[in-house]
């Protein structure tokens, strides 16, 4: 039965997945187990995305199914649950740019890979990244941007971070459809990516450096 749910979610069969969840709750099963299955399913979804079997709509849809399951299950949960989290990552779309789809996918992928993600949203001023880094002690910052105006904004953000003395303590990655190594050099970032998987690989790589 557990495998059924994992497979059903991973294969994106929404109605069937919700039906199984309801049935298992009615049978008196621990809500926590259902959440754990859901998390395992998301890992499969992530793997399929990495292997280019799944694309952005599949991620969006799986996230939607997960959220629906969480809503059904939450009232039945007794006590708070804490998953063990890996490194902390701060992410946001830089000042002047209000696009969030790419950033949200990176957040989602980092989250299902077990990282603690602080998503600051869009149009984020440099100071916000710094405050969050100081507050959380996160060592990895991801700057997102779709438009070419984001090049300048990323550069300015990294300069401001440098000005605070924080630059040597954090790794900075930049991401977006128009980003490449020339832009990375221009902005002074440590690395770049043009899709969510490259962000996950970078973060895994940096997290392993400790």
């Amino acid at each position: 039965m557990a495998e059924d749910l994992v497979k059903t979610i991973a294969d994106l069969h929404e109605e069937e997945a919700l039906r199984i969840v309801e049935e298992r709750l009615q049978a008196g099963e621990d809500a926590f187990k259902i959440l754990e299955d859901s998390r395992n399913a998301m890992e499969i979804v992530g793997k399929r995305f990495e292997n280019r079997e799944y694309f952005i709509p599949d991620l969006v849809y799986s996230g939607e199914i997960l959220q629906e399951i969480a809503e059904i299950v939450k009232p039945k949960l007794t006590g708070a649950i804490e998953f063990e989290r890996l490194d902390k990552v701060i992410i946001g779309t830089v000042a002047g740019d209000i696009h969030d789809i790419g950033k949200n996918i990176v957040t989602f992928m980092l989250d299902i890979n077990g990282f603690e993600v602080y998503d600051l949203g869009v149009d984020v001023p440099a100071q916000k990244f710094i405050e969050k880094a100081e507050e959380t002690q996160a060592r990895i910052i991801g700057l997102s941007g779709l438009l070419t105006l984001a090049f300048e904004s990323m550069k300015e953000t990294i300069e401001v971070i440098r000005g605070t003395g924080l630059r040597d303590k954090v790794k900075i990655m930049i991401g977006g459809g128009q980003i490449n190594d020339e832009v990375r050099k221009y902005t002074g970032a440590d690395a770049f990516g043009t899709d969510a998987m490259s962000a996950v690989l970078l973060v895994k790589d940096w997290a392993g450096e400790k």
Binding site: I56, P57, Y61, I101, D123, T148, G177, N180, E182, V183
Partner: protein
Amino acid sequence: MIEEKTPEELLQERTKRVEDAVQLKVPDRVPVAPNFGFFYAKYAGITPEEAHYDYDKWAMAVKKTVLDFQPDMFVSPRMILLAPGPVLDMVDFKQIKWPGHGVSSNHSFQFVEEEYMKAEEYDAFIEDPSDYIIRTYLPRIYGVAEPFKMLPPLSSMMVGYAAVHLTAALARPEVTNAIETLSKAGAESMRWRSIMDSIHEELGGMGFPSCAQAIAEAPYDVIGDFLRGTRGVMLDMYRRPDKLIEATERVLPMQLQAAVFIAKRSGNPRVFIPLHKGADGFMSLEQFKTFYWPTLHKLITGLIDEGLTPWLFIEADYTSRLETIRDIPKGKAIYHFELTDIFKAKEVLGDVACIRGGVPISLLCTGVPQEVKDCCKKLIDVVGRGGGFIMDAGSVIDEAKPENIRVMVDFTKEYGVYG
């Protein structure tokens, strides 16, 4: 020697150069047409905010840039800024943020992603799009049109004599006020349009054809961009695939009709079609063939049947879709690529469509002229071989170093000559 030609001769020469490239003939040289966006403003020293609000300054900026760079075609300012600031203010527009209204005065406008049409409203849209647009959609995207929610169904007017009394709906003070404001916005739009049209006349008189004056979108993008939002339309592929397909089929003839009308009125056969949500990664190839390509294909062939030239501005990466988009009549369309492997595109599509683009926007923003020259040389040698190529940036040029644009244009004119 160029100076000796009259503007009329130059206009004909440039037009023929582009048309030869489109028809996959070998032109006298590779045409070059930088895909200017807010670069016009930045180059001429005005802010995007001024471009939105000061029509004469915006017109001057376009003119100055075109005269300074002498491209074979110029991007119509109406393809960049689709509505002026004062009109957006008057209607209290919700679907974008524009300079001074949600984004800084130095930045271009940006979309606000929302489900402007709810998932459960597909039937209402499909059954009667005009009624849906007036009474449900406009109240959401124009603050001023909110009272239109109170109007009776537009189809109720069909009973002629029996419905004349429904004019009462327009006498509600909120509705009257909305109509008055929209009428003022309309007058302002007319003023803006006449200034924008005069740029085309003036630059045309100086020998410069425009890239296009008509615009259309792939029906899936119309649904995704304007109605359901990126996220909404993606979920619809799973949850209500039949409704989504039906809606794209409903949108198709409307897109076609509007584009044909404007293109024919303008005298410019090219129709700008920016592609957004069908790219690699944004859906599987199977989803592309199911939801995106069928109605886009009909849009392309429908325009070609009308004697027009679709200019597909293919944003993001389409490398996996090249075989699919081969299926169009030969020598009738422009495929303008952004992140697609343009050399592979030439291999797969070179005998079918004119290829445009190839210079990365990141190079124009951060590179040096020599790098731009190297890039253009390779493009002319490989993609330009045998004709059927227009040199351009892959993306809209908002930011870029002017010296990089200059070398892209001048080097193409010098090295791109077919001997």
